[in-house]
């Protein structure tokens, strides 16, 4: 029972980081990305590779994950953010689909479809952290750090610039803001922090494969953001918890077929998102009228 709870805490923490970082660009900057799972995956694969071939120290493998994801996000953002929002959605969708192919084919780095096995546990100053209870402490601390960073950014001039851009790009530019540059920086920050979630994931499960980094995952994270609410920094955590608990809730109802739990979960959050957009765009935690 305890192991189950700690496991849940770890997963909720990891997905919360994903949701909070996606909300940073979607809710605050108005940039809609379907590629968040790509940076999650990049973070996981990079930290796994570094942990196996260089050092499992958290001070080496985790930053490596951030750098890898940040660099790739630059490649996506620099061209795609200069133009309209719809282009970025399309480009991010394309990148997500492309990445799944790359993750499945690049055997030397990702282990192909088989994935990466025997990832060494993360090492913090000599202490190996792998038991669910211990790891829960780590993952929650990392989540809190991420929250503090995002919160600080949101309440800074950078955060205001993002919100200004979201509300009116033209007015933002009229007041001296370099809109493409600011958007790009926000995407890089979001991707780098999402990669930390990936690094946590890899060192926690010690096994990763492409199945965890597909479009379905990007969509799940987006649903967490929407359902949790885009108006606050911590709202997405509620969304993450709800959606991760959803399969358990569904399986509680005996009459529902076990094999279809995944589908039912998706139907519930798919329709949930739609209904929320019609009746309460701010999500569960956010303000009533949305933005």
């Amino acid at each position: 029972m305890e192991a189950y709870i700690f496991n849940l805490v770890n997963l909720i923490a990891i997905y919360s980081i994903l949701a909070v970082t996606l909300n940073f660009i979607m809710g605050y900057a108005g940039i809609y990305s379907l590629a968040h799972a790509v940076f999650f995956g990049l973070g996981a694969y990079s930290s796994a590779w570094v942990a196996q071939h260089v050092s499992p120290s958290i001070f080496v493998s985790y930053p490596a994950a951030m750098v890898a994801a940040g660099a790739v996000s630059l490649l996506l953002a620099l061209p795609a953010l200069r133009v309209r929002g719809e282009y970025f959605v399309a480009a991010s969708l394309g990148l997500q689909v492309l990445s799944v192919t790359i993750f499945s084919e690049w055997k030397s780095f990702t282990g192909g479809i088989g994935g990466v096995l025997a990832i060494p546990p993360v090492d913090i100053l000599g202490l190996e952290v792998f038991r669910p209870a211990q790891f829960a402490v780590l993952s929650v601390i990392v989540l809190v750090v991420v929250l503090l960073v995002i919160n600080a950014l949101v309440h800074s001039s950078f955060g205001r610039n993002l919100r200004a851009i979201r509300d009116s790009e033209s007015a933002a530019a009229s007041f001296g803001k370099n809109v493409p540059m600011i958007k790009t920086i926000s995407v890089v920050i979001s991707a780098a922090l999402a990669a930390v979630a990936g690094a946590l994931y890899a060192s926690y499960l010690s096994f990763i494969n492409v199945e965890s980094f597909t479009l379905d995952t990007s969509v799940l994270v987006m649903a967490m953001v929407i359902i949790g609410g885009t108006g606050t920094v911590a709202g997405p955590i509620v969304g993450a918890a709800l959606l991760l608990l959803l399969p358990s809730v569904i399986s509680y109802f005996d009459f529902l077929p076990r094999t279809e739990i995944g589908s039912l979960q998706q139907i519930i959050y798919g329709l949930g998102m739609t209904l929320l957009m019609i009746f309460r765009p701010g999500g569960i935690v956010g303000r009533r009228s949305g933005t």
């Binding site: 979607m26 929002g85 719809e86 282009y87 959605v89 399309a90 969708l93 689909v97 929407i226 957009m277």
Partner: protein
């Protein structure tokens, strides 16, 4: 020889891509609604045909079922989802997310009913015939190209010569103009959804007999529709048509150099190249910013 084979297959695919993408482009171009559930329309049209044909209904009833399903879905979505959202806020974000949510729900409902594996409609028309030594083409390829040519020509005629068609073109620029001509923008929007949804029907039906179906093809359809709309130029239906054909050809001819799992990468590559070099697309008139 292989190149010719791939070129013909590419034209077949391109014809289907053009039809599907034009549906999205028409809706987005005239209503400005980012109808991300367009992939779901395709899935519904395809599976309705598959179910009807498989139940022994025959070709024409099957086509009708497919068309009714697609149009009904498009209209219902417009009425129950997009119109309420437009009434209170209608921002890109809200519409996109709502649309997306519906798409996911549909994909999974279809998956629960029909299973997640690949299914195809069995027909002798999909059997390839040797055209010239080394080049095999099935009758479906000609049907696909013919369908695309006919339907797209009909659409062009409709857009240029009928009142509704012209209103559709005017709607995105100037909804007020539409009103002064005595037409109702809400009705025109519904027309956009009806037409944009029905035009995917031939593509969906032919795909069910050629490449086969699974509930997740909606994503691929969406990517192609988006890519073709952007590469062709937002606001230009002819551009989208052209881009659809080009993407189909490129995907097919790419097999000369890469393995089949990389074909979606080709689509992404072309899309990305256009975003960087020529965001306004091939024939786009709308500014890229």
């Amino acid at each position: 020889m292989l190149a010719i084979q791939l070129a013909i297959t590419g034209l077949q695919t391109g014809a289907l891509y053009a039809l599907t993408a034009v549906g999205f482009s028409l809706i987005f171009g005239s209503t400005r609604i980012f109808h991300f559930a367009h992939g779901a329309t395709f899935v519904i049209a395809a599976y309705f045909f598959y179910a009807a044909f498989g139940a022994g209904w025959g070709l024409i009833p099957g086509i009708l079922a497919s068309a009714l399903g697609a149009v009904a879905f498009g209209l219902v979505l417009d009425r129950l989802v997009y119109v309420p959202i437009q009434r209170h806020e209608g921002s890109f974000f809200t519409v996109f997310v709502a649309s997306f949510g519906v798409g996911i729900a549909v994909q999974n409902v279809i998956g629960m009913i029909f299973g997640r594996g690949f299914v195809t409609v069995n027909t002798s028309l999909s059997r390839s015939v040797e055209l010239v030594p080394g080049v095999y083409v099935s009758p479906l390829a000609w049907i696909a190209i013919a369908c695309a040519a006919v339907f797209l020509a009909a659409l062009q005629f409709f857009m240029r010569r009928t009142h509704t068609g012209m209103a559709l073109r005017a709607l995105s620029d100037n909804p007020e103009l539409v009103r002064t001509f005595g037409l109702n923008p809400r009705r025109i929007q519904a027309a956009a959804f009806a037409i944009g949804s029905v035009i995917v029907v031939p593509a969906a039906i032919i795909t069910s007999a050629t490449t086969g179906l699974n509930p997740a093809i909606g994503h691929h359809v969406m990517l192609i529709s988006l890519a073709a709309t952007i590469v062709g130029g937002i606001g230009s239906i002819s551009g989208t048509m052209l881009a659809g054909v080009l993407l189909g050809l490129a995907e097919s001819l790419a097999l000369l150099v890469v393995d089949s799992q990389w074909t979606e990468a080709v689509t992404f590559g072309i899309l990305f190249a256009f975003i960087i070099i020529r965001p306004s697309g091939l024939l786009g008139r709308a500014a890229a910013h």
